[in-house]
Symmetry: D2
Subunit: 364 residues, 4 copies
Amino acid sequence: MWILGVADGHTKRVNSLPAAPQRMFVSDNAAGAHPLVLEALTRANSGHALAYGQDAYTARAQTKFCELFGADVVTKFVYGGTGANVMALANMLRPAEAVVCTSWSHIHVDETGSPERILGAKLIDIASTDAKLRPEDLLSVAHLIGSQHHAQPAVVSLTQATELGTLYTAAEVRAVCDAAHEMGMLVHMDGARIANATAALGGTRAALRSFTIDAGVDVLSFGGTKAGAVFGEAVVFLNTAIGGRADYIRKQVTQLHSKMRFISAQYEALLTDDLFIDLGARANSAATRLFDATRTIKSLNLASPPEVNSLFPTIQDPVKTELQRWSFFWDWDTALRQVRWMTAWDVEPIDVDAFVAGLKTVID
Amino acid sequence: MWILGVADGHTKRVNSLPAAPQRMFVSDNAAGAHPLVLEALTRANSGHALAYGQDAYTARAQTKFCELFGADVVTKFVYGGTGANVMALANMLRPAEAVVCTSWSHIHVDETGSPERILGAKLIDIASTDAKLRPEDLLSVAHLIGSQHHAQPAVVSLTQATELGTLYTAAEVRAVCDAAHEMGMLVHMDGARIANATAALGGTRAALRSFTIDAGVDVLSFGGTKAGAVFGEAVVFLNTAIGGRADYIRKQVTQLHSKMRFISAQYEALLTDDLFIDLGARANSAATRLFDATRTIKSLNLASPPEVNSLFPTIQDPVKTELQRWSFFWDWDTALRQVRWMTAWDVEPIDVDAFVAGLKTVID
Amino acid sequence: MWILGVADGHTKRVNSLPAAPQRMFVSDNAAGAHPLVLEALTRANSGHALAYGQDAYTARAQTKFCELFGADVVTKFVYGGTGANVMALANMLRPAEAVVCTSWSHIHVDETGSPERILGAKLIDIASTDAKLRPEDLLSVAHLIGSQHHAQPAVVSLTQATELGTLYTAAEVRAVCDAAHEMGMLVHMDGARIANATAALGGTRAALRSFTIDAGVDVLSFGGTKAGAVFGEAVVFLNTAIGGRADYIRKQVTQLHSKMRFISAQYEALLTDDLFIDLGARANSAATRLFDATRTIKSLNLASPPEVNSLFPTIQDPVKTELQRWSFFWDWDTALRQVRWMTAWDVEPIDVDAFVAGLKTVID
Amino acid sequence: MWILGVADGHTKRVNSLPAAPQRMFVSDNAAGAHPLVLEALTRANSGHALAYGQDAYTARAQTKFCELFGADVVTKFVYGGTGANVMALANMLRPAEAVVCTSWSHIHVDETGSPERILGAKLIDIASTDAKLRPEDLLSVAHLIGSQHHAQPAVVSLTQATELGTLYTAAEVRAVCDAAHEMGMLVHMDGARIANATAALGGTRAALRSFTIDAGVDVLSFGGTKAGAVFGEAVVFLNTAIGGRADYIRKQVTQLHSKMRFISAQYEALLTDDLFIDLGARANSAATRLFDATRTIKSLNLASPPEVNSLFPTIQDPVKTELQRWSFFWDWDTALRQVRWMTAWDVEPIDVDAFVAGLKTVID
């Protein structure tokens, strides 16, 4: 149920469209929670537990993160994605320092200036056609280092999978981490879609470790909400030399939940039998199915298969608006006439097929 | 289940204590969610919904808030209590302004400097033996107004019920609001325990309105978590001249949940048949039952019955520690040997009776 | 006297250079104060005066600004250039808003993240080959407006003369102001080198007004230090609907000088007989003389005459370092082998000639 | 010359007052600069010097600070007093930390919330009848340490001489420093009036060292403006383990002056032959002379001689207003009918005598 897409006079062609798919292709946060996650949350709703993380669910979920990464990582649960990023960076930055990121990065584009306001830090955004940073990008800020007139580059923030649906290989992450560390910088990874990335890069714990802890990432925002949770994200200090003051900072940036067990229990479920990887894989494969069924429609300009769960086809009006009224999706780059189709963990083949069927009714 | 209170050598007298109550007296956030709330959350987990509040649950919950206050109030849902307060105040403050509050206030004492960091604003804390502000307290800051050397008092923040478990009458709130407005200030109310306050002050919507919108409160943090929710708070702009930029500010202070329907659905449940008032009443009456059963124990120094859901008895060691190991509660003022007993919405008479039974085993 | 450029082993060719010029070409802040300015400051050092601006010097200097702009502008004196910009912007921004500027702008590049830290605001930097913003640049951020996920563009900040030594015509400023105002944005002008700009664009008060108040600029950082002062800048609210809370904000951003008369008296001197324009003209003409004397040296790649007081020639090592040791100037873009020669108000023809003479000794 | 005190209808009794003193008793920032300081500033106005501290004046002034404290201290010059305090604290604080100070402290009362805004830190203000902190005051915040719900006390800020004109002995400072360091806290000293304090506590470098570096103070705001400068303050890192990033932070908090030599040269003059101590002594002795001449006027309630340069007598209207119109001074505590008389370095015995003569005309 959604409140956009109200009908208006232009309904003629809409009426000719088949039944809309049950699940939309609007975003991975349009989906609800996976049944196992909701079940875990429900099970946690039993009796009393001390607040603010002094409960058994939290202890168990934190242990699960240690097992996941095969190391004594420190995990702090927070409410949301922007909060996770701000909380991670707040632990990594000193005054007069800056964060290097791409000009596509969520922290730069989609967080309403939260990093600037709460961190008081500059973001140095670097142009990138594929939303990925490379070691040479860091060299481009090297001249700032040591001059009192410039905010000092201190943290590199990568997004995996990126905001454009691309992926870093483990070797690429490692190259950036090595370059950053050599320059005295730390590395943050925004893993709001780390489930999708893990699924795409091998689908195993070893794969996850290869592009995070083994590659040298210092602090990781480990996404839960897009991976099938009701709410809740995790900030994982892979480099435990950082984060010693994380509890204070989490509360200060408004990200400490009192009834913490409700976040922890969800993560326990997501990490059990690597459910999160499975859910990432489902979203990815729905996107692949969608690509396979539409790649031959030339006007969409779908050059290459999705690496994770999004496609950026071009569609012109009035067809675009008509389709959006039928089964909503977001515009992406109006100048390029690009829209975004994004699959969630719960999108079924039948949804893809229904979407494609509608599509083909109006696009040749 | 909780991880404090592990047994150690001093267990002799503990062994003589009866079975601990099933629910603790440690805090109202030790309780889980009310079944109807969890049911609503579960029901909301169906199909797709647009994120960030563009869903039907949110529209319905916002309408319910309008009905609750009998006015076209503007309601924005956020993650947590500190976030609600910071979000509310961020909409009310201009640069170089200050918030007047008591030295007991949650924003001043218990939010790890979140208001100072995120708002960049000074809190002017005023001593108060009962955690309540009075019009004359505002006069005490009047001399700051108009001098460029002082942060300008611009918002008064009241807590209802207060951090000491006291209550403002509707007339008292109105008196503060009138004084504040006359001085050109706005009024925020931290209603983390507004359910308890409403129950105690009449238990009706009329009662709630009398000490909020009718009394002149401009912006209200309307507590959900302590009132039986899994997570989620509401910021209610009773004065709709404020809050025109609330959506931007909510995202900027990291308090915008993507899967908003899961907060909204809970509030829909809490406001249906005034469930929140009922839950507040249950917590209050458990505290009253506890008071009635212990008022005659002189050493506890329980002078007067609780106004809402907390008692602050004095207990000395080693008895105090022994009791805490048996059924945990927090120290309050160690210099005064005060502890805090706080009841949650789910505490049953049988819990109170079990707690009192244990108490009487070790205190004469 | 300066502490860089100490001699080392590589002095052979240096010895062959003629006597270095008395004044360097390193920056306009390498110069001291103009005698009339220092005299005014000295004269102000007489007897007692109320602090914080309640003195006659300040009242007179403020009146002089009204006369300069032919309007009842509001002028607030501050300590320094970064402070002036931050103070100006702090009066113009609301929470969750952003400043649009070029990627060359001082606020973006050279203020060590001061705007981000003190304003808590995002700077949206726009690439520009000549360090100037155009109306179409504003259109490129229009898509951000109205979405809660993005910091809202609210202020455009122009620099006049720009960091690359270019100038906006009055018509160009007006075009940006018109576009900004139409989009609901305000316009700030960083006029650290407004003296040079005024001199270059006509050298009259009418010229100054044409590209500031008449063009629609709302708030102006009016540079004093580079224009011959000891210290002190002015923030001029040309649009007096803004700045009503400027006194509080100035103190809050640490820019309120107690012995204000010492800044005011300098400005009184700078505005008397338009001394600041004369000083700007002197710096500009020294740069022009330098250009005229070196334009034929091909390797310098000096395509066009300076608009104000800086040149960006290319010089290769070892000659570059040799020259810097002889008469220091800063590197500009090491990748392009560009350096910056900048003239101050006190550079005399004899300095230019001496510099050129040395130059020609080592560059053919 | 000052703009308050304009004549109105009530001038009858004023006319009967003798000639007002040439210097007022309004504040130590009503005075100008000492001739030797202005001479040094004028001498520094010769030729070119590299900006931002890369000049010989700055190097020499920094050396003079090392000699003053007999140690390799690190000194950074800034514009003003609030800036000095904010800059010092910005080097000492980490996220989620707080500053402990008295409720009289300049940072808490008189800086318009600058610390809160720029530092994002909480100030924990402690009531104190004499504006001094004591070790036991630190114990009162010890319970906050280690709890994630509270901003962590990390820096103690003392003012010497205090805002009430009282002094810490060297032993008292040491006791606070010892207690602070034992609790893991650092100590900042706001020495806006350190010249007066040094003069009063012995008048020698040894005296100065005894209550600063020898007592364990970590970072010192060393006042210049009140001690006879035109502008400029110094932040002295006595504990050089702090301040490694001071250059970046100074620029970020808008306190880096480009033409630094003009601050440095003034400090060179102030530290030559301990001029600053002499000037502090002059202000102090003027206050003592004023006290001696008025101590017997009972209605003034001047219980004890001034420790430095201020007196807080009680005077009732209409006499108070009449005197203020004649020779202005500030109200202090209107409820107590207290005013403040404060002497500057340039107040002469003849000024004191003239002031007392006028006083005795209207007060018996």
